[in-house]
């Protein structure tokens, strides 16, 4: 039975969530909703690569797709808007995954805030460079955001280099950074605009390569994210490309409300005091702390969870391998749910599993 690429992605995420969250958590994940709940779930179920990777998804679109999957017996509803894969669903997914891999390098959580702006800057920089070396000064830029236009203009000035050299360096960095046997760099290159050659739109590119649009989209992101990995790992080898990646936001910032809480914490307020000052529920503040632990590597949780309790929680988590907080709680009776979530948030990806 044929299922689309997008359906394969959805199935593989549903498998991870395993009916413990509603299908709307998937909507928030793909859309990249910056709420503590979504961010925690993404980490808990190890589906962070998909964060904000399909922002055009709609509630209705997702509902319809899941209805179709249900109709074909690939998933079943176990509670209201919670579904799990059926045996047939598992088999179909497995079979699809043997036909094609899901993107290896996709990392929505890490790169969701730089991907779009990088692509805007890169396409414009290439168009400008290409026209400059061909002595063409009047052309319509493929980007119309003033912000991007001024940024790229400034960037070129900053390089303070002969235009031919600049284009050559860009070529050199791109051919090296894009080169990767596990990705398809041509998916990126056919979208580029140069002197008297306008790049393809997403739809055109997908049609040209013969992939369904969603499949193309994920492969395209995969390619960019693979390039980001390379560039950031070895930034001095790719000075031009590295400079195109938004600096200030390379560390994932906090949601606005969480940021307020964080600032108060840094001033030494206790969680109770913050809840009182901000007129928020204690549980909301706790959500914020968990988000901080997920987003800020240096954040130290010792103050909130004593070392021995932390160890017990991690051990319980490993024994269970299930992500059910309830099971962990049953084994570490003196730990609160907040403490468990906080420990999992902090160490979940590294030591756990």
């Amino acid at each position: 039975m044929g299922i689309t690429y997008l359906e394969t992605v959805i199935l593989s995420i549903l498998k991870r969530i395993n009916g413990e969250r509603t299908i709307y958590s998937l909507f928030h994940l793909l859309q990249g909703k910056r709420s503590s709940q979504t961010i925690q779930d993404a980490h808990l179920y190890k589906i962070t690569p998909y964060f904000h990777t399909y922002p055009s998804v709609t509630r209705e679109g997702l509902e319809k797709m899941i209805n179709r999957l249900q109709h074909r017996g690939l998933v079943e509803e176990i509670a209201d808007t919670k579904v799990i894969l059926t045996g047939k669903g598992e088999a179909t997914l497995e079979q699809k995954l043997s036909e094609y891999r899901l993107p290896d390098y996709l990392n929505g959580w890490k790169y969701h805030q730089v991907t779009d702006s990088f692509w805007e800057r890169l396409t414009l920089l290439i168009q400008v460079s290409s026209n400059l070396i061909n002595h063409e000064r009047s052309f319509i830029p493929v980007r119309n955001k003033r912000e991007t236009l001024t940024w790229v203009k400034q960037y070129i000035k900053q390089q303070n280099e002969d235009r031919c050299k600049l284009a050559e360096r860009l070529y050199g960095e791109l051919t090296s950074a894009l080169d990767n046997e596990k990705t398809k760099p041509e998916l990126v290159v056919i979208r580029l605009t140069g002197y008297r050659k306008i790049g393809l739109t997403t739809m055109q590119a997908a049609e040209w390569i013969g992939l369904e649009p969603a499949h193309y989209h994920f492969e395209f992101l995969n390619c960019l994210h693979a390039m980001f990995d390379k560039v950031l790992e070895n930034s001095h080898a790719y000075p031009l490309l590295n400079g195109l990646i938004k600096k200030a936001e390379r560390n994932v910032p906090l949601t606005i409300s969480t940021d307020k809480t964080y600032k108060l914490m840094q001033k030494g307020y206790t969680l109770e005091e913050i809840a009182a000052v901000r007129n928020l529920k204690q549980s909301t503040i706790e959500d914020h702390v968990v988000e901080i632990a997920l987003s800020i590597k240096e954040f130290n949780i010792d103050h909130y969870v004593p070392l021995n309790k932390r160890e017990s929680i991690l051990q319980a988590a490993q024994r269970n391998s299930a992500k059910k907080l309830k099971q962990i709680k049953e084994q570490v009776t003196d730990a609160s749910y907040f403490e468990i979530r906080l420990v999992l948030a902090k160490y979940g990806d590294v030591e756990w599993s």
């Binding site: 290439i126 070396i133 912000e147 306008i198 739109t201």
Partner: protein
């Protein structure tokens, strides 16, 4: 003589196009001017050139954001740096910065809403505008085909700016509309430069198709037959999109759809691909073509009947900018006008929506001046589209008195009148479709002109030799099959000798 020198210096053109010189002369003599030049004759030059000859900036009011953006981009592409667009695209910080540095700009484009903001208007007053330009000026007139309520206040704004020298530009405006423009802008005395709406290089063809499928088949057939590039206009995004897909399936590889539903990257790319000759045909809604300069469009097909003859003229006017023979073909199926009537009705709020609105206003004792702040809430409650809401808000927020019952009646009356105007336009258009007389002559009569000379292949009534528009050169099939991506990158970024 003098002016031509500047034309060469600033724009590298040798000759003016019809009407440009007269318009510029009139403006430079200090006369308020209403200038009606056909599309494709470079209306923007009429204010750009004076911009270099007068002291103080030129302020250009433009109704459509996309149009404004296109114009600014074109000017920047031509090397003019002192140009800015003040519109809702700007972030608050960008807006503040632009206003602060306003003296720096020679050309300031602005949307009517932005001009309505008092602090902005006051700031502009300080830079003493040398020329106040109203682009697409027919939008100010209720009788114009594209009436925009927010244009109505331009007269008032103009007063507040100290009645600067004014140039009103339009492509299509009948005598009564031109008079209305002058009145609404409080011009008093004015000059008119009027050029014929006739485009003799464009042959006016009309075909009948009995069903939707026939129409689709015929469109594909025409696209394969005619010399391109061409544009096909649709009233529906969905049909435009489907037809483009259908054409690609039928072997017309370089066909794409263009409409407001696309993301901005795709819109820019498709437009540029078309200009650059990478596309043979674009299936578009009326959003396409505004402000793009492509000289060699050879045909324009109308898949749906436009809602008024003015839009039809504007759209076919995108052909033959180089003056070479081109053809416009409208394909009509019985009942097509129903779609037009539906669209006209859909643009206006209906009685039920107005009843709901007033019920809510009365329940909550809302005063009209607070309406703008509750736009979103009220739009949801009453189910207004953006256009519908604009009409309602604009009308009510200008009312002095506050008698809910009377105001409701007068608003309903306004809507009814507006619908009447639109329906009359559709009927006129339909009449033109069915007339057996010379199509060109009938159009010119609508604009108070007389047909002087009948060109060859004038129109379907006078007779057209369709072979004249046939593609004779074999198609250059340039497929992108199997690229070597490194080579592709090299061709973009390395100079020829290094590849």
């Amino acid at each position: 003589m003098e002016l031509k020198r500047y034309l060469k210096k600033h724009f590298k053109f040798e000759e003016f196009r019809p009407g440009q010189e007269e318009t510029i002369e009139s403006v430079l003599k200090g006369k308020h001017t209403i200038s009606m030049l056909p599309t494709g004759t470079g209306k923007s030059l009429c204010y750009q050139l004076p911009g270099y000859l007068v002291d103080g900036p030129v302020l250009i009011v433009s109704p459509l954001l996309s149009l404004m953006q296109d114009q600014v981009e074109q000017m920047m592409a031509m090397g003019e740096k002192r140009v800015i667009a003040l519109n809702s695209f700007l972030s608050p910080q960008q807006k503040a910065k632009a206003l602060e540095e306003l003296e720096r700009f020679r050309f300031i484009f602005i949307s009517p809403e932005m001009l309505g903001i008092e602090s902005v208007l006051n700031r502009i007053r300080k830079v003493s505008v040398s020329l106040f330009v109203v682009d697409e000026a027919h939008c100010i007139s209720q009788w114009g085909y594209d009436f925009r309520p927010d244009y109505l206040k331009l007269g008032e704004f103009r007063e507040k700016l100290g009645q600067p020298l004014t140039l009103a530009l339009t492509a299509t405006a009948s005598k009564e509309v031109r008079k209305d423009i002058a009145e609404k802008l409080h011009l008093g005395d004015w000059n008119e430069v009027v050029y014929s709406v006739d485009r003799p290089a464009i042959s006016l063809a009309l075909e009948f198709a009995s069903t939707f499928q026939d129409k689709l088949d015929r469109t594909v057939e025409l696209v394969k037959y005619l010399k391109g590039p061409g544009i096909i206009y649709f009233s529906s995004k969905k049909v435009a999109e489907q037809t483009a897909v259908h054409m690609r399936e039928k072997g017309i590889k370089n066909a794409m759809a263009y409409h407001g539903g696309l993301d901005s990257e795709s819109r820019v790319l498709i437009q540029q691909q078309f200009i650059n000759g990478q596309l043979d045909v674009v299936c578009a809604t009326s959003a396409f073509g505004m402000g793009i300069n492509k000289e060699n469009v050879r045909y324009v097909i109308h898949f749906h009947m436009p809602m008024q003859i003015e839009s039809y003229l504007q759209e076919i006017g995108r052909a033959a900018r180089d003056g070479r023979d081109s053809i416009a073909i409208l394909i009509y199926s019985p009942g097509d006008e129903q779609l037009a009537y539906q669209l006209a009705e859909g643009e206006l709020p209906d009685q039920y929506q107005i009843e709901r609105l007033f019920a809510f206003i009365i329940d909550n004792q809302i005063v009209y001046k607070d309406l703008a702040d509750r736009a979103e809430e009220l739009s949801i409650i009453c189910g207004f589209t953006e256009i519908q809401w604009r009409i309602v808000e604009d009308y009510l927020s200008n009312l002095e008195a506050l008698d809910y019952k009377i105001d409701k009646q007068s608003l309903l009356q306004l809507i009814e009148n507006r619908l009447e105007v639109k329906n009359t336009k559709i009927k006129k258009m339909l009449g033109w479709v069915h007339t057996k007389e010379c199509k060109r002559k009938v159009i010119l009569e609508m604009f108070g002109e007389e047909l002087q000379e009948r060109p060859r292949n004038c129109c379907i009534s006078c007779g057209i030799d369709i072979d004249h528009y046939k593609e004779t050169e074999p198609s250059s099939e340039q497929s992108l099959a199997a690229v070597d991506w490194k080579q592709e990158l090299a061709s973009i970024l390395l100079m020829r000798e290094r590849i």
